[in-house]
């Protein structure tokens, strides 16, 4: 009963903040709503018996990644509050795509045989690490996937550094910096 009340509160906060991400005009408000949504989601993770995931959500996403995102937003248009219009031509494609995706996910969730038993899945750090790294129990599947994901992120970072370097050295960025 208590858990249900907590769940409803957190779910309302998470969904409300997620809607705010769409509705807010200024990107910084959008980022802040996203942080709120993520913190509420972390609370839900903790509620269903996986505090480790919840804390990692706060640390990595709300703390580090969203901090970087706000950093970028502030650098890009910190001085002037540019108000982007809520709808433009691109929305014609995005809104149907979002609706179709929501329908698909909803359909899959209602049809899929999701057997979630919170009592057996309770456990945080030990359970997560066993699922990921215990080769004897779950096979090498998750372990290899985990390492490959690490490589992917590393290559993405290297690519980003290369791109940024190229643009810093080129002529037209220097010109635009002067025009500001």
């Amino acid at each position: 009963m208590l858990a249900l009340i907590y769940f409803i509160i957190l779910a309302v906060v998470a969904l409300g903040a997620a809607v705010c991400v769409f509705l807010s005009r200024h990107p910084l408000y959008g980022a802040l709503s996203l942080v709120t949504s993520m913190v509420a989601l972390a609370g839900i993770y903790g509620l269903i018996g996986s505090p480790f995931l919840g804390v990692v959500q706060i640390m990595v996403y709300a703390g580090a990644i969203m901090m970087l995102v706000t950093f970028v937003i502030m650098v890009l248009n910190g001085a002037r509050d540019s108000k982007t219009p809520m709808f433009d031509k691109v929305s014609l494609f995005i809104i149907p795509a979002v609706l179709v995706l929501a329908g698909l996910v909803g359909f899959a969730l209602t049809r899929a045989p999701l057997a979630f038993d919170a009592t057996t899945l309770r456990g945080s750090v030990a359970l997560t690490s066993r699922t990921l790294f215990d080769v004897a129990q779950t096979g090498p599947g998750y372990f290899v996937l985990f390492e490959v994901l690490g490589l992917l992120l590393l290559s993405a970072m290297v690519a980003a550094v290369l791109l940024a370097k190229k643009r810093l050295g080129s002529v037209d960025t220097e010109n635009t910096e002067e025009s500001h």
């Binding site: 505090p51 804390v55 990692v56 640390m59 709300a62 703390g63 901090m67 970087l68 950093f71 502030m74």
Partner: protein, 451 residues
């Protein structure tokens, strides 16, 4: 209402009383501000603020070694007008100072204030954890909170619509991200040895093996530097940077809104020093004595505790007597007032010393847990558990106060770094040392421990 019935009333009382620990960082602010100001004076060979006093009728003035200055500062901040410069973003400008201050109340929840209390109650064994939230994820929760608190500085800088504030906010965010990585990685070596994120487990491991500072000396220094940098104080105060940014992200703030940032910073010091003490200095563990030994000889332990307190009282008295002798030799106009105040301290300290010695002697000879019976109900084991908890708490507070002093010490000793120096230190030195330390620790732990 099976939740209420699942525990006995004494468990509920202790569990709810533990929430009082949320206010520890706020209380530490009261300790840290005079410590900082008088400490700075001590290091720069001056007096520091010690002139404000309370006037007590028929006695005279009480200055409490400059502690009254605290109350003056607080009163001033509370009663100043709150203003907002034109053009600020109203909502975020008001919300921003509240974020770091709200986090202050959440952070203490995972720190173990005392060892798990185990006692007999009504024929069954009761176990109460030493932290408010006894969670498997312990330290990570603390890091999550401290990473969220940087949003306060960021929003303040952005909402102020001032270039100084804005630059300060940008620097805050970049520094928080870089030093959080160092903080987490330097701690990982210890976590590999312990095999748990739970802070109670970490302290327990240190109590039965060696302290973290002995097992992981390199990690200790990396962690300490990163922790100092994370609080954003000199020598890492690039976010506030008085010489270049006026006051950084809180340039446009005044009165209590500035006060909230100020208090948030000091509480951050408090939390970080508790964290360093818990991770690397054995937390609540008494040096060289395990909790089991302590509980087996409770009377003797209490006697030693009272002895230590009596010794501290005597040291205080020595200080007062020396001050009075020096003061009598001078010809300051207010020396009789001050000597009169010292007379009061002498009386209080002598009474305290006598009381502590009497308590120590009586607990050495007469302490016997089996004699503790209230209404025919044996509470001896509860008394032992509470006594152990109090000693643990005292030990933890002493260790953390030492680290608070380290914070002040570093601030008034080292010159401040330039921004690129800070980034260089974080990403190119501390991060690499922490990584190497982690790898070496993991290899050694695998070879020696085999886990």
């Amino acid at each position: 209402m099976d939740i209420i019935e699942s525990k006995t009333w004494i468990e509920w009382v202790i569990t709810i009383a533990k929430f009082g620990f949320c206010f520890v960082p706020v209380l530490y602010i009261l300790l840290l501000i005079p410590m900082e100001r008088r400490g700075a004076g001590f290091m720069q060979d001056r007096q520091g603020p010690n002139r404000s006093y309370i006037k007590i009728p028929y006695f005279g003035k009480i200055r409490l070694f400059g502690y009254v200055q605290n109350m003056c500062d607080g009163t001033k901040l509370f009663f100043k007008e709150q203003f907002a410069p034109a053009g600020v973003n109203r909502v975020l400008y008001r919300v921003a100072p509240a974020i770091p201050f709200a986090i202050v109340f959440l952070s203490p929840c995972v720190i173990p204030w005392f060892g798990p209390m185990v006692f007999e109650w009504g024929g069954q064994t009761v176990r109460i954890a030493g932290s408010i939230v006894d969670s498997d994820v312990g330290v990570l929760l603390l890091f999550g909170f401290s990473s969220l608190s940087a949003f306060g500085a960021m929003l303040a800088g952005w909402a102020s619509k001032s270039k100084y504030s804005f630059l300060g906010a940008l620097r805050t965010s970049s520094m928080t991200i870089s030093y959080e990585v160092c903080l987490g990685l330097s701690m990982m070596g210890l976590l590999v040895l312990v095999g748990s994120f739970n802070l109670t487990d970490i302290v327990n491991w240190q109590e039965h093996h060696v302290w973290g500072i002995v097992a992981q000396p390199v990690a200790f220094f990396c962690f300490l530097i990163a922790a100092i940098a994370e609080t954003g104080r000199a020598p890492f105060d690039v976010a506030e940077g008085e010489p270049e940014l006026v006051a950084g992200y809180h340039t446009e703030y005044g009165a209590m809104q500035f006060g909230l940032f100020y208090m948030g910073e000091y509480s951050h010091i408090c939390i970080n020093s508790f964290l360093v003490a818990t991770l690397f200095l054995g937390g609540y563990a008494v040096p060289f004595v395990t909790t089991e030994t302590m509980q087996a000889h409770m009377g003797g332990t209490l006697a030693i505790l009272c002895g230590v307190l009596a010794f501290l009282g005597l040291a205080f008295l020595h200080m007062i007597y020396r001050y009075s002798r020096k003061l009598k030799a001078t010809n300051l106009t207010n020396r009789f007032e001050i000597l009169r105040e010292y007379q009061l301290y002498k009386i209080v300290a002598w009474i305290a010393v006598v009381v502590f010695i009497a308590l120590g002697v009586s607990s050495w000879f007469f302490y016997d847990p089996s004699k503790f019976v209230v209404n025919g109900f044996a509470v001896g084991s509860l008394a032992t558990a509470v006594g152990t908890a109090l000693i643990h708490l005292l030990v933890l507070v002493v260790k953390s106060v030492f680290f608070c002093w380290v914070w002040i010490w570093v601030r008034w000793t080292l010159p401040r770094f330039r921004y690129d120096h800070v980034m260089h230190l974080g990403w190119k030195i501390i991060l690499n040392i922490a990584l190497i330390n982690l790898v070496v620790t993991a290899v050694i732990a695998k070879l020696v421990g085999g886990n």
